[in-house]
Subunit: 369 residues, 2 copies
């Protein structure tokens, strides 16, 4: 069931991108494009926290024909990253500022970006969204009409979180306008739950998600039907500012799944998007193709090589390896991976120190000036 | 190894109780005591949140000879409960106020009470304590000289919790006095971690505990030696104010254990105290014996019957059943269990509606006026 869903999602996503890209075409469409493309991971490759690493601004500027602000792309590239719970447009503008190049929202493929392709299924259904940032805003911008944050959802159920007296969270208070416009969450069943970005309040989120999932979408009720559960990513650990890796959304999924399976007689059913899922790489290929100015027949204009530059062997490299041709994996030593040689379990096609070295390698290999 | 530790702990605990009880003896020591005792669970049996349930104040008053404030105990009783991260003395005073009977700290056996018996092992070692309430205060009152809360511990390691910018926790700020009195946590290894009560900030606690446990006690370092890990309880769910059960410390343990085992090559080693561990019931028996005024030879003055009154089949009833003679289990319908008949997997010796019915049953069965 999982892969049927994903392939349907991919098709819908492609259709949408084609429509969106017709508006951006003039920015990127230049003849005689090389048949290569690049996907960059962000955290641990391009940035650590909010600081650029590995000479990343300079490396990115080398991918443009002239000036990075006004010039067109020499090599189409995008960012393949876990989301921060903010819309793609805002992330693009934030990255443009931090990196000094003009990044288009279409170049931002966040873990939660594919959620927009579930719109036909849940557009008018009650859905909950959780994670740092503004998860419900992200879902609303994708077009979901009845998206509510888990923060706000929990606030409608008194005492649902017994630990709340010990917390000083700032939550969005429920307001009457929302209730009167069809948001009566205390009587309507939740049809799907989305983990958009890394959850912040794990004890509350795990508790409320378990309540929703084992009650058929309405805490306190009884039903055998489990609402749909979607995760934007499944990375166990990632490189942030702290010297050693930090727990990611995959760790949250493990916690939720193992607790749910202990209190419920049927195991948790869920779908994880995000690297290393092969769907992500298929999706990236399709977007890079659009960026390359090829709209008509994707099959006859396939890429010679697509480069995945990442720091995490079990996510970036494993994903690119599983995706197979035309993906070529480059592992940097600026994040999760710090080894001298290659990674033992998920060896990359090439290991370099920094993202600048990776771009240098690609330009030389492709004989691009 | 686990049970060697526990039996040693039990012996040390008994010795301590005997010393403590000599001071309280006059309160409880009355001749011709019946050879029965009662252990009450609190949440879902005596209280829901802070409200008495099942006529509990009246039921408790029936256990005294005359007036509950000044009279002596007709039947020795204690509370066998998970802790709230506050010292036994404070919990006793809180319960006395809520229930209108004079409860002595010795009658409060919290999940974390047995931690005091690990004093000989960790008295002068750096230990971290987590959970709602004041976990480090609890440990300090037990005599641990270098107990620090995980809240404060985490504050010494910049960026250890990447989600902290999204939180507005009130944490104890590190202060120089503590550092100068031998608390240099950034260079000293943590020897043991204690989960005293239900953790509040799961994402931070799981992250920092994983850091401590896989680094040999100093985040960022490398060591094969895992510091000791103790949990005060292991209840998966419990009955709070919300209509359906809430996740307890056992759920937190499952989350920590499954994540730790995914990121580390050796499985987590830990010890869980609290019900249904048979140690808890042995310990309760020994305290009830002290309350009954028998100090000299515990073996020759064993109880005819000890009643465990609880609402949770998999914790209270399972525990009493595993403990065997002289335990007799009574299941109330005021908390986790709401069934008409008995529980399927952990049937109690007797099922009643409320704690008042349980006390009535005991008094009749023992022919006590």
């Amino acid at each position: 069931m999982r892969f049927i869903t994903i392939s349907r999602v991919l098709q819908q996503h492609r259709n949408k991108i084609q429509i969106q890209l017709r508006c951006h075409r003039h920015l990127h469409s230049v003849p005689n494009r090389p048949s290569v493309g690049i996907a960059f991971d962000i955290d641990g490759v391009i940035l650590r926290g909010r600081s650029p690493i590995g000479d990343s601004p300079k490396a990115l500027r080398r991918l443009y024909d002239y000036d990075a602000d006004s010039g067109s792309l020499k090599i189409p590239y995008l960012f393949l990253t876990n989301g921060r719970g903010i819309p793609e447009s805002r992330r693009a503008s934030e990255l443009s500022q931090l990196l000094g190049v003009n990044i288009d929202p279409i170049q931002i493929v966040q873990g939660h970006s594919p959620f927009k392709n579930l719109l036909t299924r849940f557009e008018n259904e009650l859905i909950v969204a959780t994670g740092k940032g503004e998860p419900a805003v992200v879902m609303s911008e994708y077009g979901f009409k009845k998206a509510i944050s888990l923060d706000e959802y929990a606030s409608y159920f008194k005492n649902i979180d017994p630990l709340s007296p010990y917390k000083t969270w700032t939550t969005t208070q429920p307001c009457n306008e929302q209730k009167s416009s069809g948001f009566d969450v205390t009587s309507e069943r939740v049809k799907a739950a989305f983990v958009v970005s890394d959850p912040v309040d794990w004890s509350r989120d795990i508790q409320v998600l378990c309540d929703i999932l084992r009650s058929g979408g309405l805490p306190g009720e009884k039903s055998e039907h489990q609402p749909h559960m979607y995760f934007a990513a499944d990375d166990l650990e990632y490189q942030a500012v702290f010297p050693s890796e930090r727990l990611g959304m995959g760790a949250f999924r493990i916690a939720l799944e193992s607790i749910f399976n202990s209190i419920h007689h049927k195991p948790l059913k869920y779908t994880s998007f995000g690297k290393p899922n092969p769907f992500v790489f298929k999706n990236a290929e399709s977007i890079l193709m659009e960026l390359n100015g090829i709209y008509k027949d994707t099959k006859s204009h396939s890429f010679k090589t697509l480069y995945m530059i990442g720091d995490n062997p079990s996510v970036d490299i494993k994903g690119a390896r599983q995706a197979g041709h035309p993906w070529f994996s480059i592992l940097t030593r600026t994040g999760v991976f710090r080894g001298k040689e290659n990674h033992t379990y998920y060896p990359a096609d090439k290991v370099v120190d920094t993202v600048a070295d990776a771009v240098e390698f690609i330009l030389r290999r492709e004989a691009i000036a």
